[in-house]
């Protein structure tokens, strides 16, 4: 009998509860967190933030976690090992429980992509805080952007001025600014908010520029990782031990190959300044001249990424 969403949700939440009892800092993020925050999304997989230092403990816990009697396994050959070194470098480890009719997918991050503050500092129950979730939703997928704005409004309603940083919808920004002034410290973090003056026609163009820039930054980030993972993926694919039924063996095989072939931190290796400049250059191809004049300084949006 297929596993229901409610059972799946309970399974993930109990995993987080057990992890925390063992001292593992972790939190559910992305789609499931959005449902909890009042922006419903149909999702079935679970994205989990985990403090990189606790990667070993979490692996131990996963090794014991059964779903309909099935243990999990590493998903595919591209999956980096669940190890502090690679988690700190921005990699995601993927796991699956695939009992017949009861599949569960778990993606584990050590670093929240685009995070500008430590996610561990603002948990809400089983979930990462809405500020972190909103930053993680600034992806190259068009469907994610309304969720960002919706979370931004939620933050303002909760009295958190950082909500201003997440309003990407023109109408919402204008309507919000009609009753509320944007604090100077938010404008400093996000210059486009300085265009909220009445009659300012550049705001809409600048918002499109911002979204296109984030879109390109995410696309390039993924491309850098995809390029870096290739030799490792080929080695894991060739190694029969990678498919051993024991999770511990699957892990050791991946660590063995990763130590030789998988760069710990491909983004730092590529250069963050270079990545940002490339994203700006790419974005410039798709937006009006001047649209990128109000971009934020995103060098602070790589928090947690190892040096």
């Amino acid at each position: 009998m297929p596993l229901s969403y409610a059972e799946l949700e309970k399974f993930y939440e109990s995993l987080v509860a057990r992890a925390r009892r063992r001292g593992i800092a972790c939190a559910i993020t992305s789609g499931m967190a959005c449902v909890a925050f009042g922006v419903a999304q149909a999702t079935q997989d679970c994205d989990l933030l985990c403090a990189p230092a606790a990667a070993g403990k979490l692996l131990g816990l996963l090794g014991e976690a059964r779903l309909h009697g099935q243990p999990p396994r590493y998903r595919g050959h591209l999956t980096p090992p669940l190890d502090a070194r690679w988690l700190r470098g921005g990699w995601t480890s993927h796991f699956v429980w695939d009992a017949a009719g009861a599949e569960a997918y778990l993606d584990i991050f050590g670093v929240a992509p685009r995070g500008s503050s430590p996610w561990e500092a603002e948990l809400q129950g089983f979930y990462a805080g809405p500020h972190t979730v909103a930053e993680m939703k600034r992806t190259n997928r068009e469907k994610d952007w309304p969720f960002v704005t919706a979370l931004g409004v939620k933050l303002l309603e909760a009295g958190d001025p950082r909500g201003w940083l997440h309003l990407f919808n023109y109408d919402v920004l204008i309507q919000t600014a009609a009753k509320l002034s944007c604090p100077a410290e938010m404008i400093a973090l996000r210059p486009v908010l300085g265009l909220l003056a009445p009659g300012e026609e550049r705001l809409e163009v600048a918002l499109k520029g911002e979204i296109e820039f984030w879109n390109q930054l995410d696309r390039l980030r993924i491309r850098v990782h995809e390029h870096a993972v290739r030799p490792y993926m080929l080695a894991v694919k060739r190694d029969r031990r990678a498919n051993d039924p024991a999770l511990h063996t699957q892990h050791l095989v991946r660590v063995e190959h990763a130590e030789r072939l998988l760069p710990v931190n491909p983004l730092r290796q590529h250069g963050l300044e270079r990545l940002i400049a490339e994203a700006q250059a790419q974005a410039a191809r798709f937006v009006q001249p001047g649209a990128l004049d109000w971009l934020p300084d995103v060098r602070g949006c790589f928090i947690g990424l190892s040096e």
């Binding site: 297929p2 229901s4 969403y5 409610a6 949700e9 449902v35 909890a36 925050f37 009042g38 922006v39 419903a40 999304q41 149909a42 999702t43 079935q44 997989d45 994205d47 591209l78 980096p80 990699w91 995601t92 993927h94 699956v96 599949e103 997918y105 993606d107 992509p113 805080g129 809405p130 992806t139 190259n140 997928r141 994610d144 309304p146 704005t149 919706a150 409004v153 939620k154 933050l155 303002l156 309603e157 909760a158 009295g159 958190d160 001025p161 919808n169 109408d171 919402v172 309507q175 919000t176 009753k179 509320l180 002034s181 995410d218 980030r221 993924i222 990782h225 995809e226 993972v229 993926m233």
Partner: protein, 73 residues
Amino acid sequence: MKAAKAKPAWLTPGVLRHLKRVEHDFHVRAFGEEMARVNFLPLAQRRRYVAEMVDHAVRKGVKFDKPALGVTP
């Protein structure tokens, strides 16, 4: 959603009412009337609705898993 700190002075009842209106209008525009309704349901009902929606989709063969690329958007 709980506020991290005490309610700031700028968050007057009038501002909050205004934000709620802006939010509701946006949810209708961005997600459609049905999902906007769901988004303003109490958490337990919202989760139940999402559960039914996902379970129905799964029964119809929809796959929700993302590719495992070692990096996630």
